[in-house]
Symmetry: C2
Amino acid sequence: MTTADRIVDAAASLLDAGGESAVTLRAVGLASGVSHNAPYKHFKSRSALLAAVATRDFTELEEAFARIGRERVRPLTKLKRALQHFITYGREFPARYRLLYSDPELARQGGDLEAAAMKSFLTFTSLVSECQQSKQLPSVPPLQLAGLLYASVHGLIDLQAGGQMRSEKGLMGAEAGVLLLLKLLSQAE
Amino acid sequence: MTTADRIVDAAASLLDAGGESAVTLRAVGLASGVSHNAPYKHFKSRSALLAAVATRDFTELEEAFARIGRERVRPLTKLKRALQHFITYGREFPARYRLLYSDPELARQGGDLEAAAMKSFLTFTSLVSECQQSKQLPSVPPLQLAGLLYASVHGLIDLQAGGQMRSEKGLMGAEAGVLLLLKLLSQAE
DNA sequence: TATGCCGGTAGACAACGTCAACCATCGTAG
DNA sequence: CTACGATGGTTGACGTTGTCTACCGGCATA
């Protein structure tokens, strides 16, 4: 494993452990066994390092979507599994999840964050499109339906990750929300 | 206008102008004509100041929802107007919008942020409930449907505020997304 | 063998949040 | 009338942070 990888790993761990503010270059350096300035040899700034973490997670997300897409089950089942994976990831790593969709400045830190994000969305779209072809979701333009579903699920996960949607308030969890949404959508056309 | 109000105003302006990182206590002090430490006489910390900004915005949001709820138009029209207001606010003040749903630590900074957020959501829920009573939305538990709608719209606004959902990518805007969602939901039951 | 890049170090700097000490004003208890 | 505590303001200092600059060793290559 290269040093750059170890630095990204350390940043991700710190992110999980203490939120974005815990990702200081000094802590990253300490955790990856280098000095507090070594990250600058691999990333242009702290933001660029965070962008690298986000890019890696987007790529892994896309791989998961693609893997699920190859399973031999009903299209709607694939979609549900993909959404379940998304939700689980968001619940397990809320800080990393929120990083994915944080400031637009992150995307402009160079790198291929935007491309990775777009690719994962397009793979997700193909899952939605499959459901439409098998008449399990209404026949509106696939990109529109996928965008709507993606945004809705993002909203559910984000509110849950931020603690604004806790079940003790009588609200439902992200899983229940997704299932309700899919149920309602499948009744439309 | 009290000094505390001026400080909150300054923080909101800086937030709009340069994002969260631009809200430094020194800049806030300068903009509101006090020293860099005066905010501490009114707010326990920088986070508490940001929480005050968020609380104010949630309150204004709730007032807008309540105002729209008193209009004499069809329930679904009220709901659409409320959502349109929400979207417009998010587009005009993306940094403030994102502050509303940022870290859970903000909510724990004391203050009544959580109560204000809940109140605005409940007022929104009453709009949804009205639509259900007039059979314009499916008859599922109101809190669930409202939560789903709220989260979905939040997702649309948030992705747009973060620049992840730009129309030049062939994706739709938040308004179109909401209209599509309402159209599909109204076909279900 | 000399050289220039690559990846690392250490140190300094300004800006930031926060803390402590100090001070003016003013309503009020004695 | 006076003493005083609370309120809201000030200045200065401290530690931490991101970032910049300078330095340095190894190693491929001309």
